[in-house]
């Protein structure tokens, strides 16, 4: 009986190993394909990944279409380039993972250009300047980033706001509460789970515009560094990157970008 168990375990282990090996082989094949297909990039439909709960940059309208600033920018760029694209809502972390493994060609999701991300991805020139802001309830004693120490702070998981919170409060501080998206993190300030939220200015102001009765106030603090959003491609995908930069340059020059974002970027 004991012996038979061992044989079964061994078989299970081998089956698992085969599955793993197959996964690895599959990866190699698909990356090989995209290499050979690169020459026809202009005729290909480019797959753009996003996380569409990030108004005003990307969100869903009442018909389920992805709309927002990023969508308009992508639209303008691909119009200039005369190329075809499809924007997909895949979820925040999936954007990174699927661009990395080649399932998506690029990501456009209000992604801040950071040094850590540059290790795995390539970014276009920046198209938007953002800062982190703190959101607190109107009667909160918190006045600046310094006051956040010892307080519970909610953020969107693995966003730059999350990184800013880690920098302020310590890498593994349990007082940092990370949620799937920023609206949920702000809701937690209203509910009292957290005393403050940290998030991108554009999204926070959009939230307050849509929830004028929320009794929240925004604190801007120079302690947060300026950040720039860029379009993201897999590291080494120079051909697509050059095309995107070319398109971005064109809409910068003809004023289309400033028109969409309402911001002059030098």
């Amino acid at each position: 009986m004991v012996k038979r168990n061992h044989v079964f375990l061994l078989m299970l282990l081998m089956a698992f190993a085969f599955v793993l090996a197959a996964c690895g082989a599959g990866d190699e094949k698909s990356s090989g394909n995209s290499d050979s297909g690169e020459s026809g990039l202009k005729d290909k439909k480019i797959l753009v990944g996003t996380e569409a709960t990030f108004a005003p940059f990307e969100y869903m309208d009442d018909k389920g279409n992805i709309v927002g600033i990023d969508k308009d920018i992508i639209d303008a760029i691909f119009n200039e380039l005369g190329m075809d694209y499809e924007m997909r809502h895949v979820g925040w972390e999936a954007v990174f993972q699927q661009v990395q493994n080649g399932e998506l060609d690029m990501g456009a999701s209000g992604i801040t250009i950071t040094n850590e991300r540059k290790e795995t991805f390539d970014f276009t020139e920046p198209y938007f300047e953002a800062t982190q802001v703190i959101v607190v309830t109107e009667d909160s004693p918190i006045e600046s980033a310094k006051d956040l120490e010892g307080k519970k702070v909610s953020v969107q998981i693995n966003s730059t706001g999350h990184q800013a919170a880690k920098k302020l409060l310590g890498e593994t501080n349990p007082n940092i509460l990370a949620y799937e998206n920023l609206p949920l993190a702000i809701q937690e300030v209203i509910n009292g789970t957290a005393q403050a939220a940290i998030g991108d200015n554009a999204v926070v102001y959009e939230y307050l515009k849509n929830n004028p009765n929320a009794k929240l106030k925004v604190i801007e603090d120079d302690a947060f560094e300026k950040e720039y959003y860029g379009l993201m491609v897999k590291k080494g995908n120079k051909e697509l990157l050059d095309l995107l930069n070319e398109g971005l340059q064109k809409i910068k020059e003809n004023g289309k970008l400033a028109e969409i974002t309402g911001q002059e970027l030098e």
């Binding site: 991300r117 693995n158 349990p174 990370a178 937690e188 789970t193």
Partner: protein
């Protein structure tokens, strides 16, 4: 092959996160299960009752909580129910445990009901004809027998609950899955953190299934405490 290039040091760097994750997962599951068990016993007995005013509320509750996804229940409890009762949220631990208790109770209730119904009618008739009243017959004859049959499905429910506790991560409970998500977002690597999380859950469920099978043996018909020589104090004349 890319997948062989594992960097386990990133898990090690974040070991505090994972260790805290294990405690949070265990706390959520244990509180959820024992709370759910106690609540579930009453629900199960209620659903077994012939009294309509007892039966219907229990049936409604069970249908409601078995028929909606736990994830949705977590959001409703955390973002709507608790803030409107208390005026503010009480943190992810309270919401998480509340959701797990309420959800688990519905499943435990069905296990209890099925266990009681699986005991032959003749047992109750025999007990009653020996002069025990309904309550005594239930407590002394039916429930001890039924309990033995409930152990395996209860163990099953515990393991399910342990795994489902990972859903509480959506309200930022820093459990095992949360640790994996944070690490994967920091390094943009997905194999190591999620495999580590899977391994931790596997170890926990393995331990639980060992405990359950021990309890099962302890309560089995074949087990006779009088035969146990190390345990002479227990011998009853």
């Amino acid at each position: 092959m890319e997948i062989l290039d594992f960097r386990w040091d990133i898990i090690w760097n974040y070991r505090d996160y994972f260790i805290r994750g294990i405690w949070v997962t265990l706390a959520l599951t244990l509180c959820g299960f024992f709370g759910g068990f106690i609540f579930g016993v009453f629900l199960g007995l209620g659903k077994n009752s012939k009294r309509k005013w007892l039966y219907w509320p229990c049936k409604l509750y069970i249908d409601l909580f078995r028929g909606t996804p736990l994830l949705v229940q977590i959001f409703i409890i955390h973002l709507a129910v608790i803030p409107s009762i208390f005026g503010h949220s009480l943190g992810f631990m309270v919401s998480g445990i509340a959701a797990l208790i309420l959800n688990c109770a519905a499943y435990v209730a069905e296990i209890i009901r099925a266990g009681i119904q699986s005991i032959d009618k003749g047992q109750m008739e025999a007990a009653r004809s020996l002069g025990l009243n309904q309550f005594q017959a239930m407590r002394k004859v039916i429930l001890p027998q039924a309990f033995r049959r409930m152990i395996p499905p209860l163990g099953n429910e515990f393991i399910t609950l342990l795994k489902d506790s990972s859903l509480v991560t959506v309200i930022a409970a820093n459990d095992i899955l949360y640790a994996a998500k944070v690490v994967s977002g920091t390094y943009f690597r997905f194999w190591e953190p999620y495999l580590a999380a899977a391994a931790l859950y596997l170890i926990l469920t393995f331990i639980v299934s060992k405990i359950v099978s021990f309890i099962e043996k302890r309560f089995s018909i074949e087990y006779n405490p009088r035969k146990n020589k190390n345990d002479e104090g227990r011998v009853v004349a």
